[in-house]
Symmetry: C2
Subunit: 188 residues, 2 copies
């Protein structure tokens, strides 16, 4: 059991041992429930066939929602990013989860990501804006430029702002962030 | 000596004692030099009469430089922010140091800051852009809006971008930063 638990992310040998001893100390019914929940979740949760966000249904809640703007798509690398953006309660459009970033160093090319389905969604012509919300890493920049080039013929393509984080301080910001904040300045 | 050293920022009783013992262990000539440097710097360094940045001359190096754009002014709260922005090597215009932020709670009104000299600089009509590079705090927002309103009749007023810092991760960004990053999105 300890060996299996150690395969979980962020679980080392000590934590695995603590988890194992805790599980052994619980009543059997509780352990049965835990085991069952893991298997059921794995069996039931797949990807939305439209946006590739995690979903127990063939089409996810966000894609089916009638109260969301169907003409705006926010493109993210990962389902975690959807969850982070939903927490802001600011965005009311659709999503598209790429399932990773273009990374030639790791052998991940565009064909391994959900880019073609995104192009098909946008090429239908009803989308007025695609927002690229991708981390500002090397792979993120590559992916943003690649996807941007593919979508520009069909619709307006924007990307999220990079600059000083809220509560940030000019004095403590790194130079690249400050340079981006200056470069991205907007009229008041 | 320990009591006097303790008045410095970030110096508590232990650090003050360590500094004091170190100073006592040095040759007298070295201590004389240190003491002299402190007094000389205090006597010589004042504020630039144009931009209010720290300067040993009546007009600072940046204001006198012929290689910098004289038509763009970047407005900051503090001389520390000038130093931070200069490190980026991206900005080639002028500065204006307000000397603080509007903060009614601390009794700091606009008249205590170098806002009137800024308005006079801009009202001369040769400035094409004023960039407000002020921290996104409550006082920072108040100051940005106040200064922006005063300068808008004379020139274009912009402010630096707020959003995801470089190397930042969507998943770990706070909600306000993410909301600002979305709101501030720009066309690719």
């Amino acid at each position: 059991m300890i060996e299996e638990l150690q395969r979980l992310p962020g679980v080392g040998s000590k934590t695995a041992q603590r988890l194992a001893l805790h599980i052994l100390s619980r009543p059997e019914a509780e352990v049965q429930t835990l085991a069952q929940v893991l298997v059921e979740a794995k069996q039931q949760v797949g990807h939305c066939s439209v946006c590739f966000h995690l979903s127990a249904d063939p089409v996810c809640d966000i894609c089916r929602s009638l109260s969301r703007d169907p003409q705006v798509i926010c493109v993210v690398a990962d389902s975690r990013d959807v969850i982070a953006l939903e927490k802001t309660r600011e965005y009311r459009g659709q999503y598209h989860v790429l399932g990773g970033l273009v990374s030639p160093m790791d052998g991940i090319g565009p064909e391994q990501l959900h880019i073609q389905p995104l192009v098909r969604r946008v090429a239908q012509g009803t989308i007025t804006e695609v927002i690229l919300a991708i981390n500002p890493s090397v792979e993120g920049e590559t992916t943003t430029l690649y996807v941007g080039q593919l979508l520009k013929p069909f619709t307006k393509v924007t990307r999220i702002a990079f600059g000083l984080p809220m509560g940030g301080d000019l004095e403590y910001a790194d130079e690249v962030t400050l340079a981006r904040a200056l470069e991205g300045r907007r009229e008041l």
